[in-house]
């Protein structure tokens, strides 16, 4: 996949693809395709006649819900169809619409018989045929047909879409791209909307034809995924519009369309809306296709906005607000620090909380906390440790006996949070330090990467014990967190070597132990940590250097993750393209807006458990294979009680 994908991301217009797809056959064709409909691979952004409509198609990420479901995407047929569609979008504005439609058709097509579409609408049969030839499935053929219709529609659609387009800018991001990677949330909502739309539309007949189609297009399923049930992401979106049977949903879609807009336009809105807004901001930039499903937040742009919205925000507690801003500005980082800050903010909020009349504390407070959390999410995606802590807190709230008075309940929660911070983080760290120190012996050379508070404590404690060891601090751009850590270590008199990760294979041969921190450890033993950790661990493994991961057990998560793609966080892409204070090497200046340049600044990566020798946690030193045991045995009893 990767190889295929890479090229595409570089030169192609953004095309929505679902699941695994092959690279577009001809990239070289990028010139305007003869047949707008079928020229998918080629269609370059410039081709688009009506920029606005095309943009409309692309729509904000929110609108493009990529449904990940289903086998349908996996089936070869689907895949083919998906490829076909995308190209059509770009060339002409109408074409772009058609794409959407086509995509919609696909989704529908699978469900509904192809027959309905072709007959009703005056689509190009030839196009259909060609499509059909390429893809055996009838559903696919229908899709192609659909493309033609949209032309009339396009204008309307364009109008609608325009607002959304702003973010995306000139680039016509094909629906597919977005859809594939669109945020899950967006998806869900879109799907919901789509369902509703589909129901409403059901009444309409295919005969509506161009006029109807046009209207439909405007809503363009893109914004909302019409057929949630249908598998193909792209297809589903478009499908809802076009499919003969499905068509009826047009009306509904129209209704719905405004919603997403409103949501992300109105940033002061509820958390979800805000989140979308964040995404929207990032949309303007080129984003790597694989990671479109992740929210990208740009520093600097959000802060003023949020500040200006301070008074509009739903009653947000100042403490929470403060923490949120600190996340946003990067003043608080590190799993433990963020978690503690959040919990303490919640403590404050709970202290000042009073149950509104006619509501019960557990319910109302849970909702409150929920709204705080979504605010924090908007500021920065939650870490898994925070997720666990929130789960703990909500659980505590839910378990509060109804008989408790409000003040008692609040005191209870307060002390619960204190206990959590104390037991799960502070004491856990002490235990980890105690264990880890036993693995440091005189003469060791310890390699550390990133800046983990637990690892730092281990080193300091070992130093206090008088162990003779040397530390290799490995660092990486752009954060260079290692320098801070290095400063503290050197300040304590520890013998250090500082290097960048580029030199890892050189330095590794003299290392006897690698100590790493972790943002989370997943239940297949995968260590989810600062990007670069996997690289360090792999090199260490190939040098037969033991890799020790220090991680508090409250950061364990029962999820299984095999790669760094499906769940991750995107940092500010600017920081990797620009080196602060080095004007002479900022070669990328000015190419920021290039449509074919995409910057990827991942924050985390996943280290396979094969490369981890040991996980040091508050339950002792365990092999990575035992993480699920700890999650199973202790999660319920300690964390969730």
């Amino acid at each position: 996949m990767d190889s295929r994908r890479a090229p595409r991301t570089a030169s192609d217009p953004k095309v929505r693809k679902v699941g695994f797809f092959t690279a577009p056959p001809d990239r070289s064709l990028s010139g305007p395709p003869d047949h707008p409909i079928f020229s998918f691979p080629t269609s370059p952004p410039p081709v688009v006649d009506n920029s606005s409509p095309s943009a409309g198609n692309s729509l904000s990420p929110v609108m493009i819900p990529p449904p990940r479901h289903s086998s349908a995407t996996l089936s070869p047929l689907r895949r083919d169809s998906a490829e076909l569609f995308p190209p059509s979008v770009s060339p002409t504005s109408p074409a772009s619409f058609s794409d959407d439609v086509a995509a919609a058709v696909m989704g529908r097509g699978a469900v509904a018989a192809s027959s309905s579409l072709p007959g009703g609408l005056g689509f190009d049969i030839a196009a259909v045929k060609s499509a059909a030839s390429s893809v055996p499935a009838s559903g696919l053929t229908t899709v192609s047909v659909v493309n033609n219709l949209p032309i009339g529609i396009s204008e309307k659609g364009g109008g609608v879409a325009v607002e959304m387009q702003n973010d995306q800018s000139t680039r016509s991001k094909s629906l597919k791209e977005k859809t594939t990677k669109a945020e899950r949330r967006a998806l869900q909502e879109a799907q919901r909307a789509a369902k509703a739309a589909a129901k409403a539309e059901g009444g309409k007949t295919p005969a509506a034809a161009s006029g109807a189609a046009a209207s439909v297009n405007t809503k363009s399923t893109k914004s909302v995924k019409p057929p949630p049930s249908q598998k193909n992401d792209n297809a589903t979106v478009a499908a809802s519009e076009k499919k003969g049977g499905d068509r009826p949903p047009e009306k509904d879609r129209k209704k719905e369309v405004p919603q997403p807009r409103m949501q992300y336009d109105d940033k002061s809105r509820v958390e979800k809306a805000k989140r979308r807004a964040v995404v929207k901001q990032t949309e303007a930039r080129n984003r790597v296709e694989l990671f479109r499903h992740l929210p990208q937040y740009e520093r600097g742009t959000q802060l003023p906005e949020l500040e200006s919205k301070f008074f509009e925000l739903d009653p947000m507690h100042p403490a929470v607000y403060k923490v949120g801003l600190q996340y946003l500005s990067g003043d608080i980082c590190g799993g433990n620090a963020r978690c503690i800050a959040m919990l303490q903010a919640f403590q404050e909020a709970i202290k000042d909380y009073s149950t509104p009349p006619e509501k019960t504390l557990p319910r109302d407070l849970t909702a409150k906390i929920g709204s705080y959390v979504s605010f924090l999410i908007e500021c920065r995606p939650l870490s898994i440790s925070m997720g666990n802590a929130i789960r703990f807190l909500k659980n505590r709230i839910a378990k509060l006996p109804l008989s408790l008075s409000e003040s008692e309940a609040k005191t209870n929660l307060h002390s619960d949070i204190d206990r959590f911070i104390n037991e799960k983080i502070i004491i856990a760290d002490k235990v980890i330090v105690k264990h880890a120190v036993t693995k440091i012996s005189d003469g060791d050379v310890l390699l550390i990467y990133g800046s983990s508070s637990a690892v730092e404590m281990v080193l300091l404690h070992a130093h206090e014990l008088g162990k003779q060891f040397r530390v290799v601090v490995v660092d990486s751009r752009p954060k260079l967190e290692g320098q801070l850590l290095l400063r503290r270590l050197v300040g304590k008199g520890i013998n250090c070597t500082y290097t960048h990760i580029n030199a890892i294979s050189y330095i590794m041969h003299e290392v006897t132990r690698v100590f790493l921190g972790a943002s989370s450890v997943l239940s297949n033993g995968t260590v989810y940590s600062r990007v670069g950790t996997a690289c360090v661990a792999m090199v260490a493994h190939s040098f037969h250097v033991p890799v020790l991961v220090c991680c508090e057990a409250y950061k364990f998560h029962e999820r299984v993750q095999l790669d760094s793609i499906c769940s991750n966080e995107l940092g500010d892409p600017d920081v990797i393209s620009k080196v602060h204070g080095r004007e002479d090497i900022n070669f990328l200046d000015g190419s920021d807006n290039s449509a074919i340049l995409q910057l990827l600044n991942l924050i985390y990566d996943a280290t396979p458990s094969d490369y981890v020798s040991m996980i040091i946690t508050d339950y002792g030193m365990v092999p990575p294979t035992s993480v699920p045991v700890i999650v199973r045995e202790y999660r319920r009893e300690h964390l969730w009680i």
Binding site: R513, M614, Y619, G620, V622, P623, T625, V629, E633
Partner: protein, 396 residues
Amino acid sequence: MWWRSASFILDKQQNDAVPKLRNPPDTLTPPSPPPLSMPDTLQNPNPQNNISAYYQTRAAHHAVVTSDWLAQAQAAVGSDLDGAPETGVPTVAGKPFSVIDEFNSWRKQPDLAEAVAAIRALAAVIRNCQATTMMELEIELKKASDSLKLWDTTSISLTAGCDLFMRYVTRTSALEYEDFNSAKSRLIERAEKFGEISCKARRIIAMLSQDFIFDGCTILVHGFSRVVLEVLKTAAQSKKLFRVFCTEGRPDRTGLRLSNELAKLDVPVKLLIDSAVAYTMDEVDMVLVGADGVVESGGIINMMGTYQIALVAHSMNKPVYVAAESYKFARLYPLDQKDMGPALRPIDFGVPIPSKVEVETSAWDYTPPQYLTLLFTDLGVLTPSVVSDELIQLYL
């Protein structure tokens, strides 16, 4: 191969009502004299620094010590080695009751593993304890197990056995709600049960592993392990046809002893020098070794040479099976070979070694879990990663 699954075999095992190898001779336990206070035993009663008690125990248990080795060992250690642990613990001799004495008396039974002896001794401690509260009893027990552990700090199974006993016996919270006497009798009951389980462990393992030994197979064994011997004996008794390659097991030649035992059972045996393992590996169908300790990663600590055999077997895709009782599961996690305290032993090279030449005298090595196929334990046939699960469930 479903019938090889541990649970199935265990069920079968229970149904078969396996004859108990030995009934715990509870009656033999010495009469209970005055309460034991043994601060004196807390200092290491084992004075030799040069030779680990681990090695002594082995030497005492495995009679295959050559005379020249003995001579050298004696020269190295001093006069009172003699392998007699009793002489090593003179300080306690006068005391009315001491775990160490108890332990030693149990230890003299040749078939009884060290850890089981310790478990028995600790059970006797409970029985003889005159404490009147649970707390006192626990403290007493703790002291006893500490002194036992100190007696031989290099024996993993001894330490692990003591720890496990403590966990097993004192774990229930229900004990807190009973009056002292019934709680104590409950403890004794558990202690006996644990001792019994430990005694039967070898038998259970032998039964469990039978399905892995098929007719016509060639088994490579390393060192002398009573569990492995039991496994092979059971296989031979059930008329399986197999042959065994024994490594020599330098320097204490434990392989020789094993080959002697096997020859008595009419099992075809071939003796290899330790360095011939790779040479013969392609004829071998499986490697079967015992373990001094099973560590948390699922790896094993065993007699020197196990690691290289496992490496060779791994590279030739031969299965490596480990037979080990569950009381050898230790809360240790060595990261590499040097990450554990060495158990030293003298090595006889047959010629005088110039004093400038250094000799590697460690008695064991650590085999990481990725080179092991399965562990035969009395808890069932486990993959290495399950060891940690079991340990976590036991200790946390």
